[in-house]
């Protein structure tokens, strides 16, 4: 999907201001504050709104000229709860399949198949309006993918889901992108979800693209660091690494969760997975292993002290921090794009 210089106005208000972006196969996160223009961008992709300038191409098709063809390739999970009152879950998914061109009995078979994959259980036979929010979300997701679209657009897909269901949903999205080559655009406010599943991200604010690029590049710290999770004498290990000339420091909670130090003081979902443990025995060390010698030295000290290593990986900034920086810069300079990584 490619958008080139699109401008959308509602009266005097410009909702999308010369937005240009490309969405590749894989999972792309679309994030931005409320009123940033995300929903309007989705409508533009579907050909639902008339653009003042610019154009959108979805799989080479113009959604304004060939909306039916485009929508045949696209599945949408809207943020709002939507249903046809009176239909059960399976009837709803079947209806969506039939509207998308899957004929007769095949639509029913396909609806059950997709609902099975979404783990919908027997709840599928209840009227949609009586289902829980999480179940409605599953039905909505099943309805969006039942016709095997090449692109899936999801608006807050994890809304109303419990942690287990949320993880399952993110797993399904990853499966669709990785195993079935789908192009997935996830519009969400849950930034840890973006960081955990998205390959690329687009930050919209004030109708403009403020930041775009791969998650890996955007969350890379200014100075590359490695993150070593260990159990044992952490402080002693840090001292020995420094003595070897390896820049190292024990990570404090604020190093790991900078957003927690901010005015909002928000904790993200990653807290539960990397919270440092006991002061004496468990900890995280941030170090710079710029040469093979430094790496070998680190392993030597680990071996000498008998420290157990849980993980060693490249350190990255939380995406939330990157996002907030982008918004602050957008407020400071409303017309400039902060960063446009390839």
């Amino acid at each position: 999907m490619q958008a080139t210089g699109i401008v959308k106005r509602y009266g005097q208000r410009t909702v999308l201001d010369r937005v240009s972006l490309t969405v590749h196969p894989g999972i792309t996160g679309l994030v931005g504050p409320n009123g940033a223009g995300k929903s309007t961008l989705v409508k533009a992709i579907l050909g639902l709104v008339r653009l003042a300038e610019g154009g959108v191409r979805v799989f080479g098709l113009d959604p304004r000229r060939e909306p039916h063809a485009v929508r045949r390739f696209v599945g949408v999970v809207p943020e709002d709860e939507c249903s046809v009152p009176g239909l059960s879950g399976v009837e709803m998914v079947r209806y969506a399949a039939q509207l998308s061109g899957i004929p007769g009995i095949e639509s029913l078979r396909r609806a059950h198949e997709v609902l099975d994959w979404c783990d919908a259980g027997q709840e599928r036979y209840r009227a949609v309006e009586t289902l829980s929010v999480g179940m409605k979300q599953k039905i909505s997701f099943a309805a969006a993918i039942v016709h095997d679209p090449r692109m899936v657009i999801l608006d807050e897909p994890t809304n109303g889901l419990d942690p287990i269901e949320r993880r399952a949903m993110l797993g399904r999205l990853t499966t669709l992108a990785r195993d079935h080559g789908k192009t997935i655009l996830v519009s969400t406010h849950v930034l840890p979800d973006v960081q955990s599943i998205c390959e690329r991200v687009i930050v919209l604010a004030g109708g403009r693209v403020r930041l775009t690029g791969s998650i890996r590049e955007l969350t890379q710290p200014a100075i590359p660091e490695e993150r070593l999770e260990v159990t044992g004498p952490v402080d002693e290990l840090v001292g020995r690494l420094i003595a070897r000339g390896i820049p190292a420091r024990r990570a404090r909670p604020l190093d790991l969760f900078p957003s927690a130090a901010g005015a909002a003081g928000r904790f993200s979902a990653t807290v539960e997975t990397v919270m440092p443990g006991d002061e004496a025995h468990e900890g995280v060390i941030l170090l710079q292993l710029s040469t093979p010698e430094a790496l070998a030295g680190m392993w030597a000290e680990v071996h000498r002290l008998g420290v157990r290593v849980s993980s060693l990986k490249a350190s990255c900034r939380p995406f939330e921090e990157v996002f907030l920086e982008a918004l602050q810069a957008a407020q400071a300079s409303p017309t400039e794009s902060l960063h446009a990584a390839p």
Binding site: P67, H68, G75, V76, E81, V84, L99, G101, P103, D116
Partner: protein, 414 residues
């Protein structure tokens, strides 16, 4: 956990087009509407008047079969009921009195006469059937179904389901129109066609189907004339609000208010005319005391009361000085207001026997539809009677269609 979870699989079958989407929307809409107990009752009830009318068809055809056409025409001439089939028998009698006569120089055979009278009677019975019970039931059935069709989608945000799929406004609106169109057809077109089939079945010969071939076509056209403005108007109301109760109220209020307006204006006209007649009577009385007007109905003043010059004077019992021989020999059909006009005004209007021009018909959808249907059945031919309702209904249909077209995807554009 499902027993046969095959995971997510691609689907590469042949996809159906827009027509299938329209049919799916219509089929699902009918299925959902049919869950209403009141709708099922209304549709069932809508077929019951057909049984009464079928009885009239039987009686009429039986009279022809037994060679009693002349006899019932004679009875019609004197304003009697026909073979005890109630008020419909009187409608038949009056219809017989107003059949178009052949040219004076042409002598009709008995079969030709039977065909001519059959066409007249069947047309008027069909018109009465479609206008009196069916048009009212149509308002009720459409009022039960239509208000929820679009407003419910707006409230439940179902438009997100439609317009994010290969469904455009055209498919959506056509699907919704089809839901109502099929329901309207099930209470107007289908019973009327069944009535025609019943008429053919009880007639002396199957060839009656050939001689009355145009009636099924007229029934279909009359049903369409009934359906198009009503369906568009009902859906337009539904599209203007997310509360179906409001749309429902607007629908019934429109019919009631327009009916009341029509009745008020018509009554005012009648009172004005009566006043003028009284004034004229008083004037005549003052100029010619010998020709006193007593306010009653006398043989002498009948021609003056009639709107046509060739009307035969008639008394309370029927036409005076007219026989069946007059009709057969082509001396012209009686043109006066038949007895039923005065005794069963609504029936006479329904069957097109009351040939006064309803100049306020265009105000009321019910009365406008009646005029248009009478035109379709070949009973009303006067342009001054047809055009105002035709323009009125045409405007209502166009404006409703535009509103509907503009409103259905308004939330998607917002």
């Amino acid at each position: 956990m499902p027993l046969h979870d095959v995971g997510y699989r691609p689907w590469q079958g042949k996809r159906s087009g827009s027509l299938a989407a329209i049919l799916v929307i219509a089929a699902t809409g009918i299925k959902l509407a049919w869950t209403s107990r009141w709708l099922r009752r209304a549709v069932f009830f809508a077929w019951s008047p057909a049984l009464v009318f079928a009885g009239s068809f039987f009686v009429f055809e039986q009279a022809i079969d037994e060679g009693r056409l002349g006899s019932i025409q004679d009875r019609a001439r004197v304003g009697s009921n026909v073979d005890g089939v109630g008020i419909l028998g009187r409608a038949i009698a009056d219809a017989l009195g107003q059949t178009d006569a052949p040219p004076a120089d042409r002598h009709e055979t008995r079969d030709e006469e039977a065909n001519r009278t059959r066409r007249a009677v069947w047309s008027r019975l069909m018109l009465a059937f479609m206008r009196s019970p069916q048009a009212i039931l149509l308002a009720i059935v459409v009022g039960l179904v239509a208000p929820a069709l679009v407003s419910r989608d707006l409230r439940a945000k179902a438009w997100l389901i439609y317009f994010t799929r290969p469904v455009g406004k055209f498919e959506y609106v056509t699907g919704k129109l089809l839901i109502l169109g099929l329901l309207v057809a099930s209470i107007t077109m289908l019973p009327a066609l069944a009535l025609w089939v019943a008429g053919v079945a009880v007639s002396p010969s199957i060839w009656v189907a050939v001689t009355t071939w145009d009636l099924p076509v007229r029934i279909i056209v009359a049903s369409l004339a009934l359906a198009i403005p009503t369906v568009f108007m009902a859906l337009a109301y539904s599209s203007l609000t997310a509360e179906s109760r409001i749309a429902s109220f607007a629908w019934f209020a429109t019919w009631a208010a327009c009916w009341i307006a029509h009745a008020s204006l018509t009554t005012a006209d009648i009172m004005q005319r009566a006043q003028a007649e009284n004034l004229a009577g008083e004037k005549a009385q003052s100029t010619d005391p010998s020709n006193a007007f007593d306010g009653g109905f006398s043989v002498e003043d009948a021609p003056r009361r009639s709107r046509r010059s060739n009307v035969h004077p008639r008394g309370p019992g029927g036409e005076i000085g007219e026989t069946l021989a007059d009709l057969i020999e082509g001396r012209g059909p009686p043109r006066g207001r038949p007895l039923a006009v005065r005794q069963f005004g609504w029936l006479s209007k329904a069957t097109g026997l009351d040939d006064t021009i309803d100049r306020w018909a265009w105000i009321s959808p019910y009365h406008s539809l009646g005029v248009i249907q009478a035109w379709v059945f070949g009973i009303e031919r006067r342009s001054q009677a047809i055009f105002p309702p035709l323009i009125s209904l045409g405007l209502v249909s166009i404006v409703s269609a535009l509103v509907l077209w503009w409103r259905v995807d308004a939330p998607a554009r917002a």
